[in-house]
């Protein structure tokens, strides 16, 4: 055997770009990149040209102009003299509010329904199947409109609550369900309420520390402490004690019928209720399927092993099955949370003033800044979605199987 001392010269020919597998993928990528850049630049130049043809410029100055319109549900101070930018923020907060409430309730509904659908009780599991199929196969918009129509048509008007009227308030005259929303008592914070809040937060920290201690103790000695009762005690006793010690710093303002509407109290508007409830039950149906899939993904051997150790079905579910199922559940759950947040933009159907209705609706309409408004709107949803998914990914990383 001889060793060639002059290896074949590596000559490069143009045709190799097409026929040589070493270079072909590179060629395709370069061409695709060029095409992508061309189409992007075409989009931009087309936009610029058309804006010019319409005689419009591109600036965000309108955000500091007075908005001129009112918003019924505002979490921060706002009136018609505030700027379009502030109106947009009011809308964003409303979007975040309904998304947060919706995600929370959808998760509760989803886990309950998902677990119950696997029940051995035939009636329960069939009922849950009907719920899931009915909810997720009918468009969300219909559910929103249906619930809103029910809330406006089937509930009494405020004037029916007058003397001799057909309706009356619930829970000792503290809650009124009307066709304009549900009026509930509103907490009024006086001096010293900050201390009360601090005590409450401290007792939450106490509960967390105690549970940690109890778990460690159980792992080391096997003693089981009465965690539930002590936690409940820590939750209620210090806060209630300080409530009276500080001289009742928090009082409730009750809604009262006055003029056209109930005055005082907190008004949970029908638009919020319809949107919140519809988003919850709709997304809840999807989450139920995810939960069911997660539970079924845990091998039956785990259940049998737990039973063999003498764990009751309840504890088997909580301690063995669900923690393992979570690893399957969380990634698709994130995408359901994102869906719910984006679906909340259907709010305008029931007149809920979310960011799509303020910035993406009235502001655009009054100022004629479609491009700027839509870009901002897209940016907001993008930011919100990325924020949700990054928070959930942190949780996912904590729950997922640690591979070492």
């Amino acid at each position: 055997m001889t060793i060639s001392d002059n290896p074949p010269k590596d000559s490069f020919r143009l045709s190799q770009l097409l026929y040589d597998t070493r270079y072909r993928s590179m060629t395709i990528q370069v061409i695709a990149f060029i095409l992508l850049m061309l189409s992007l630049s075409w989009l931009v130049s087309n936009t610029v040209q058309n804006l010019q043809a319409l005689g419009k410029d591109f600036n965000f100055g309108f955000l500091s102009q007075p908005a001129g319109y009112d918003i019924n549900q505002r979490i921060i101070d706002y009136d018609s003299q505030s700027s379009h930018g502030r109106a947009a923020i009011v809308g964003m907060l409303n979007t975040i509010l309904v998304a947060f409430l919706g995600c929370a309730v959808a998760t509760v509904i989803g886990v309950l329904v998902g677990v119950l659908r696997l029940s051995k009780n035939w009636v329960v599991s069939r009922l849950m199947a009907v719920y899931v199929e009915a909810l997720r196969n009918v468009p969300l918009l219909l559910w929103i409109v249906v619930i809103f129509a029910l809330m406006t048509e089937a509930t009494p008007q405020p004037r029916d609550f007058r003397e001799g009227g057909s309706a009356s308030m619930l829970f000792g005259d503290t809650v009124a369900i009307t066709n304009r929303g549900v009026f509930i008592p509103k907490p009024i914070w006086h001096d010293g309420s900050l201390i009360l809040a601090a005590v409450f937060v401290l007792s939450l920290v106490g509960i967390w520390a105690f549970r940690r201690y109890a778990r460690k103790r159980q792992e080391q000695t096997g003693d089981i402490l009465p965690v539930l009762w002590i936690s409940l005690g820590l939750f209620f006793v210090p806060t209630i004690l300080f409530y009276f010690l500080l001289g009742r710093p928090v009082t409730l303002e009750y809604p009262e019928l006055g003029g056209f509407n109930f005055q005082g109290g907190l008004q949970v508007r029908n638009s919020l209720i319809a949107l919140w409830f519809a988003l919850s039950i709709y997304t809840g149906a999807f989450i139920a399927e995810i939960v069911r899939a997660g539970i079924l993904a845990v091998s039956k051997g785990q259940t049998e092993a737990a039973f063999a150790l003498g764990l009751r079905p309840n504890r088997t579910m909580n301690l063995v099955i669900l923690p393992q199922a979570m690893r399957v559940i969380i990634p698709p759950l994130i995408s359901q949370y994102l869906n719910l947040t984006k679906n909340s933009s259907l709010a305008i159907a029931v007149g809920y003033m979310d960011v799509r209705a303020t910035l993406g609706g009235i502001t655009i309409n009054q100022t004629g800044r479609e491009l700027e408004g839509m870009l901002l709107l897209g940016l907001f949803y993008l930011t919100a979605s990325l924020a949700i998914s990054s928070v959930m990914n942190v949780y996912n990383n904590r729950m997922k199987l640690k591979e070492r």
């Binding site: 045709s15 097409l18 061409i31 061309l38 189409s39 075409w42 130049s45 087309n46 040209q49 058309n50 043809a53 319409l54 005689g55 419009k56 001129g68 319109y69 009112d70 918003i71 019924n72 009136d79 018609s80 003299q81 406006t152 048509e153 008007q157 066709n179 304009r180 006055g258 003029g259 056209f260 509407n261 005055q263 029908n270 638009s271 305008i348 159907a349 007149g351 003033m353 209705a357 609706g361 009235i362 309409n365 009054q366 100022t367 004629g368 479609e370």
Partner: protein, 339 residues
């Protein structure tokens, strides 16, 4: 082995930006029909009748322009638009003109780049409340829940009115007139506010119109006008002078009944002759046929006929001419002369 080299030819597609279209009038002629933006349904102004044919005062404006340009009042594609979508539809070229009870304002005319073709209805914003509420003035509405169509000038007027009178209210924003009426009917709002003509039109569709009253306050000026895109002045002229032709025809006593006769046998009134094209070259100046105004009037009648047929005192809507009478009758309608 013989090796053939195939060189793939890459054709970079010509990425020309969308060409700026020719004049709107040419587009309409080439298409053979007029795309006209109307409301999603407001009885008397623009609503499909039992046969699905659009009828109404604004619809007549669309038909008149179609008659002038195409000679056929039925060659109209009606595009229903909401308060929110109307301007985008016009600016993007989806419709050639809007005849959709749209208020002529400074910022719409100047900043949104539209051209208003003259007021076809002088309106003002009012409030409708159920009689049972016992309210007689808009200033009694402190704390009331008010339904309002979102994306309209009424939304801004409402905010101004309540702020300047230092009273509070709860706005319920709603997308279309029909949804607003549904909410109002269910009692989810105490009052409904929109242009007084819209209130009258909506009230007429109720089961018991007598149970509802329109409050006396008119809180704004709402000159409703057809509009076109800024920049195509020839097209703007056509729409503007179509409206003026309808108004002038009423002033001169030309109606759909006698227009054919008057056009066939020119009389001795020179302005009628110029309007109907039997004298002068006014049609050619607009780029239309000389008998364009004859077609307009033959199709839908003059302004007064259209008004009486759709929204006048003999219809369920029952609007009086009021400000919309001719200047000769104490109203505001005043067309520049056809000369």
């Amino acid at each position: 082995m013989k090796k053939t080299i195939l060189l793939g030819a890459l054709t970079v597609a010509g990425l020309a930006a969308t060409s700026v279209s020719a004049s709107t009038a040419d587009d309409v002629r080439a298409r053979g029909k007029l795309n006209c933006g109307v409301s999603t349904g407001l009885a008397g102004f623009a609503a499909p009748d039992a046969n699905g044919v659009w009828q109404g005062f604004d619809v007549d404006m669309c038909r008149a322009v179609a008659a002038a340009v195409l000679g056929d009042a039925t060659a109209v594609e009606f595009v229903p638009t909401t308060g929110q979508t109307r301007f985008t539809a016009l600016a993007s070229g989806e419709v050639d003109m809007l005849a959709r009870n749209t208020t002529w304002t400074f910022s719409r005319d100047v900043d949104l780049k539209f051209e208003f073709a003259g007021t076809n209805y002088y309106d003002g914003q009012g409030f409708m409340v159920p009689k049972a509420l016992g309210v007689t003035s808009a200033k009694d509405l402190d704390g009331a829940t008010v339904c309002i169509q979102t994306g309209t000038t009424t939304e801004l007027n409402l905010a101004d009115f309540f702020r300047s009178n230092n009273i509070s209210y709860e706005p319920v924003p709603i997308e279309t007139n029909a949804e607003a009426l549904q909410q109002y009917g269910a009692g989810a709002c105490d009052a409904y506010t929109t242009d007084a003509s819209g209130l009258a039109a909506s009230r007429a569709t109720f089961d018991n119109p007598g149970d509802h009253i329109v409050l006396p306050e008119i809180i704004s000026k709402e000159p409703l006008a057809p509009l076109v895109r800024h920049g195509d002045n020839e097209w703007g002229d056509i729409v503007r002078w179509t409206l003026n032709a309808m108004i002038t025809a009423e002033e001169l006593g030309v109606t759909s009944a006698n227009v054919a006769e008057m056009a066939a046998a020119p009389g001795d009134n020179p302005e009628i002759n110029r309007l109907l094209g039997t004298e002068g070259e006014l049609g050619a100046m607009l780029g239309l046929s000389s008998d364009w105004a004859v077609k307009v009037i033959a199709a839908g009648g003059n302004y007064g006929e259209s008004f009486e047929r759709n929204i006048g005192s003999s219809t369920p809507i029952g609007l009086a001419r009021g400000l919309n009478a001719l200047w000769t009758n104490g109203g505001l309608l005043y067309s520049p002369p056809f000369r």
